[in-house]
Amino acid sequence: MNNNKFVGKVGVGEILTYVVLILVLVFTVMPLLFMVTAAFMDAKQIMAMPYSWIPSKEYFTTESRTFFTNFQKAIVGNHNDHIFFRNLWNSLIVAFTCALTTVLLASLCGYGLAKFNFKGKTVVFMAIMSTMMIPFEAIMIPLYLVASKLKIINTIPGLIIPFLVSAFGVFQMRQYLITFPSEYLDAARVDGLTEFGIYARIVLPNSTPVIATLGILSFRNQWDNLLWPLLCSQAEKMKTIPLYISKFAEEKQTDEGALMACALLASIPMFILFFSLSKYFLGGAAVYESRKG
């Protein structure tokens, strides 16, 4: 691998490389820093020209403003309904459940497709793959009607059920498991493990990287989902965090500082997840490559 890297003394090329990389770094990090700093300012200071990166002291010392004023506003909401944490919790539950079920169902189905031969297997595979071409936006209204018949509108299951598993997940699992040595499975059969036992004790434990990546991907997708909750969540307490923010942003009383505080608070769980599991986030692409051995 070294051959691909700079060797010897620091050269012009290397300096240039750093310059470019740092410029891009400034571009990606600047808005994040802006969010964090603005979360402590009031609207007037945020919109001041030039932007002062350090929250001015006078805003913390006055009677009406403290260090946490913006955060208080973000949590309490404009209507004193205190549902921020409830909505955050909903988002976490929905994202976590979807990640879990996606991993389970996709691995089950992917395993079935990768390691078993049965009539109609190709048809089943093609059918599942073809759903990947159906954009969610195209089916949201019929889906709403289905959900309404199932009486799951305005419930947490309603937010979860349409995303229990994704075709993409099934595809990934199948591609990964196809390279899984069949000898292990046969050996386990000889040892008397049931087929489900093989899945649970051999296949699952041996797919951790792809499972982690898939789980994270599914978690992030649901965490980011706006369109479905927009339709499905009616009561305030059934909303998810993207809805909370979008509503908070729409409301006329909200000032920019409180909005940034809200955005910051809502991002913290994802940041924690990201920095503790960055290996799997950054290894996301490994899934594609793994099947090439």
Binding site: M1, N3, N4, F6, G13, V20, L21, F27, T28, V29, P31, L32, F34, P50, Y51, C109, Y111, G112, L113, F116, N117, F118, K119, A127, I128, T131, M133, I134, P135, E137, A138, I139, I141, P142, L143, V146, I161, A167, R189, G192, E195, L226, L227, I241, I245, S246, A249, E250, L259, M260, S267, M270, F271, F274, S278, G284, A285, Y288, E289, K292
Partner: protein, 309 residues
Amino acid sequence: MKKKLTPYSIEKKQVRWGFLFTVPCLVFFAVFSFYPIISAFLTSLTNRDAIRRTYDFIGFQNYTYLFTQSNGGFSLLNSLKATAIFTVGTFVPMVVVSLILAVLIMQLRKPGHSKMFELAYYTPAVLSSVVAATIWMILFQPTGLFNQISNFVMHTSGKDYQWLTNNSMLRASTIIVYFWKYIGYFTILFITGLASIPPTIYEAAIVDGSSRWHTFWKITLPLLKPTVVLVSIMAMLQCLKTFSTQYMFVQGGTAREPIDVITMNIYYTGVVNRRLGRSSAMSIILFLIMLCFTYLQFSTQKGGDDVEY
């Protein structure tokens, strides 16, 4: 009682278990994907309205309407244009820049540094789109930070670059938000692709005495081609489905037409303006477009699999 493991019984067992394992997903997709898309197609042949109790079968009138009329000023053709501009404007720079960044990061000799850049580039991707749009809506204000930076970079003073008001600038703004959010993600995809190229190939190149630049064009890029194609199509499909950024912008008071991407038009026509039939027809058109691109993805992926290092 233990069954004897004859090839026959294994085969029979395979059929049963294989089917059993796939059934849950199959049922799920039948209810939550196939049924709705069929239902959307049937609705697209009617003049169904969200409030009216009855509706009529009108054949393909919705489709002809969409291609000939203006849908109250927010026509399908305008949406296709907005979507195309957004998609091309986003994925081309994104693929090119993320490839360059990936190559640059791979060349750093301190693993700590590459890790830091990877983390920093990827961080915006973990924010939700709503948060991303919210931050940028403030940055893009005439008095906002991004306009100040624009003035600084362009050596102007007090100029309003109209990031949210001028049609072209507004399009550019949505592209910048998306680019910012996903650049790290795609950089990482390329880094993984690059890492899978066996070092022996480079060793051979070095022995041949080819320059770094030469190595990149003649060796790295051709070997990376499957990844490039795959990532491009992935990026493209993702761009075609963009919704949150544009939705948040319009909610924030910007003009709708220039960024009225097809998903947003579906939402407005069906959910806001109640025309379920017409919006279903748009959905089906989006479906067909996606179908073409996904077909492309599959055919190139097949090609990708054949590449041997």
